[in-house]
């Protein structure tokens, strides 16, 4: 475990998790703490060699600044970054990603921000509808698309609810499809421009909102009949075709 280690301190999981996932994709080992006390425990446990603490200033047990001061005094070699607000956190994650140790930046930090904002909005919407938790167990009928046909090979795969909700399911369905890791938004544009009702989301972080791809998302398609295929990085790297193959997939 030699990758640089970042500890994220943020109370809200819907903010913390996408940030953490993004930084993992940039090659960091990322630990998550939900408050200042957890952060202290992780730092003092000796289990990890933490290089940097990125802490929200307000939500973490009342005082991120106090935590930061403590870190700087106790672990002078550990860097501290304070972030106030989601946008600033995403921006900071983007900066860290630029300097990432292993991989190139997988996507723009604006996408992380979109993911966070859309999941926060979904939580609010669902709460208003009375879906405190968990989310509705079935996709609404409008989202239940039919079947996915690989026209190029004639192989036909039924999708029970018009979507694959796990990387494995997606990989099974699309086992000949390969997406370059960074191409998902341009692919979505391409699909949208062809009026395909198939949206493929590279969603390592399986936040399911249609705005995962931000401004690039084919929003009109998302509102209509569609299939959403969530592909993880693992699923993507296991497959071995190209974008052109995807265009052989038609939803019927």
């Amino acid at each position: 475990m030699s990758e640089p280690c970042i500890l994220i301190v943020e109370a809200d999981g819907l903010v913390r998790a996408p940030l953490a996932q993004y930084l993992r994709e940039c090659g960091y080992l990322v630990l998550e703490a939900t408050n200042a006390e957890e952060a202290r425990q992780l730092l003092t446990s000796g289990e990890w060699r933490i290089n940097l603490v990125m802490t929200e200033v307000e939500s973490v047990g009342g005082n991120g600044f106090r935590l930061g001061t403590w870190v700087r005094r106790t672990f002078p070699n550990v860097g501290v970054i304070f972030v106030g607000g989601v946008a600033r956190a995403a921006e900071k994650a983007g900066d860290l990603c630029e300097e990432g140790p292993t991989f190139s930046k997988p996507y723009h930090h604006r996408i992380v921000l979109d993911r966070i904002q859309s999941s926060l909005a979904a939580r609010e919407r669902n709460a208003k509808k009375g879906y405190a938790a968990p989310y509705p167990k079935r996709w609404p009928a409008s989202r239940r698309a039919g079947r996915l046909v690989n026209m190029s090979r004639g192989a036909r795969t039924d999708l029970a609810h018009g979507c694959a909700t796990s990387p494995d399911q997606a990989a099974t369905v699309l086992n000949v499809v390969h997406l370059s890791v960074n191409c998902h938004s341009s692919m979505a544009r391409s699909l949208a421009s062809k009026s395909f009702t198939l949206t493929i989301m590279d969603s390592l972080m399986p936040f399911s909102s249609g705005s995962v791809m931000g401004a690039d998302a084919p929003r009109r398609a998302i509102k209509s009949e569609m299939a959403a295929i969530y592909l993880s990085r693992a699923a993507i790297s296991r497959s071995n075709s190209s974008l052109s193959d995807i265009q052989h997939f038609h939803l019927i």
């Binding site: 809200d12 999981g13 819907l14 913390r16 998790a17 996932q21 993992r24 080992l29 630990l31 998550e32 703490a33 939900t34 408050n35 957890e38 425990q41 992780l42 446990s45 289990e47 990890w48 999941s119 926060l120 979904a122 939580r123 669902n126 709460a127 879906y131 405190a132 938790a133 968990p134 989310y135 509705p136 167990k137 909700t165 796990s166 990387p167 494995d168 399911q169 099974t172 390592l204 972080m205 399986p206 936040f207 399911s208 909102s209 969530y230 993880s232 693992a234």
Partner: protein
Amino acid sequence: LIVRATTAEGLRRAGFIVLEAADAHDALSYFGASVPINGVFSDVDLPGSMDGLELARRLRTEQPDLPIALTSGNHLFERDTPFFPKPYSVAEVVAFFANVRSGRQDE
């Protein structure tokens, strides 16, 4: 907490996407935001007003097929859920969810 972070990291290295939650309400927050989740691993003894048993019960009411596994240092309570007595090995938990994953793939 250390156990949570270690287990989460073990699962991530096995290819899972792992969301961490500090308590049951934190966990439910992910479901409340429509985040697709394919499995839950929870301690029975959680901070706050809801323990892991209640969390599992609530999740199962809504999603009977959701794979759930529990852990606890207390081995004595009745249980009808896959259970990992503490101290458990991360490898066993990874193996459990790997089985769940391959089961889904076979469907």
